[in-house]
Symmetry: C2
Subunit: 220 residues, 2 copies
DNA sequence: GTCTATACTTGGATAGAC
DNA sequence: GTCTATCCAAGTATAGAC
């Protein structure tokens, strides 16, 4: 937008050729992480996919890992926003799990979570990368905690397990399922798990409706 | 000790210098995966840690990934044997979870599961590696299924979720918790999760004792 | 059969062209 | 300010020494 001075530079048709190089590189970095993993995400591989010179990685981001972190930022922001929108419309535990299952399917198809997994695993190989990645994963746990609290708040689950612990477990399970499913391509067990979790949740829902009123939301 | 044919070859003191080069390389590969991850596990890095020439990686294993797979084999065999021994002495769900928590602590300290995670995540970067890794992870799910069935068999859990699904979920959670804990170094949430799971299990234990006799083991 | 020295390829980073 | 041509380090793999 606002591309001043359209100096008819010859480039690939469709590419604007100047300020959005960063954007193109970030997008290519994401795709490369999905397709070739952290170990395969070299400056050359990324630039090749972006259709530009590999030196641009270093000009625009300073280093490969910095570009990779920008990619993680982009994926994280995009997904968390998407999640928030989807979760906003839920009130009950079973609805939450339904939404989670649907989103899990999306993430699996598009490979969004692969980016997280690759960055977490790849963090071991580069000194100083760990904390950077950790800071970008934290919002996921935070979101999971908010979402579970919104749906399970005041239920039986809430009193038997601290919300932060649940959130951590949910994120861990999400990452683990993504890894295993990505590895062997069989998504049936994961979807089955969501299905059963929903049944268990409805059980909890029924149980927590019985005892002393915890109050159905404020005002009643 | 027992250094046959003392042909006074000069080597590092302590190293026997001949047939166990493979063993030393496998051990070094494991340590390198733990410390530097898949992306950092180059032939040079591993050989350096093993204290031998990097060419030996290719002589003994043909390629780096082959050595890495041998490392995964070794870790997997070692751990699964250890798990079996520990689980053999368990009969109740709460005991199983106690054992699982203890073993999780061990694995975290020693970095055993890091090897799995790195290999799973690294599989994306090398064509054909995925199925090889998948074949080596399958026994873990198998073991988890056997263990949960031994402890939860005939309980309420068994009838609401298929054992294979539970096993998959347990392995996924285990891998995910390892990743997150390894990333930020905070093992408290994971241990808390085991603790709460134990409470829930004892609840299930109590519930499943009430209804129509599913039969305490065969016979009776 | 074991291992080392060397060939060749790919990757990270920058000096300098535009 | 943006990008390309080039440099050097690190990686895989093998030919050949022992």
């Amino acid at each position: 937008m606002a591309k001043s001075g359209a100096s008819s530079r010859l480039r690939q048709p469709g590419a604007e050729g100047s300020t959005d190089t960063r954007r193109v590189l970030v997008e290519a970095a994401i795709e490369t992480l999905k397709a070739d993993g952290f170990a395969g995400a070299s400056a050359r591989a990324i630039a090749g996919r972006a259709g530009c010179n590999q030196g641009l990685v270093f000009y625009h981001f300073g280093s490969v890992v910095n570009l990779l972190l920008a990619a993680l930022d982009a994926v994280s922001a995009d997904r968390l926003e998407h999640y928030s929108a989807a979760v906003d419309r839920v009130t009950t535990p079973t609805e939450l799990i339904d939404v989670a299952a649907a989103i899990f399917g999306e993430d699996l198809d598009a490979g969004h979570v692969t980016v997280l997994v690759e960055m977490i695993a790849g963090a071991s190989s580069t000194p100083g990368l760990g904390p950077e990645v950790a800071a970008r994963i934290a919002p996921w746990t935070q979101f999971a905690q908010a979402a579970t609290q919104a749906a399970f708040g005041g239920s039986a689950l809430d009193s038997v397990i601290p919300p932060s612990t649940v959130a951590r477990g949910v994120v861990a399970l999400y990452l683990g399922l993504e890894m295993l499913t990505h590895l062997d391509g069989d998504r049936a067990p994961a979807l089955e798990l969501f299905d059963r979790a929903k049944e268990l949740a409805s059980l909890f829902q029924a149980l927590s409706a019985v005892p002393s009123a915890a109050g159905p939301k404020e005002g009643s």
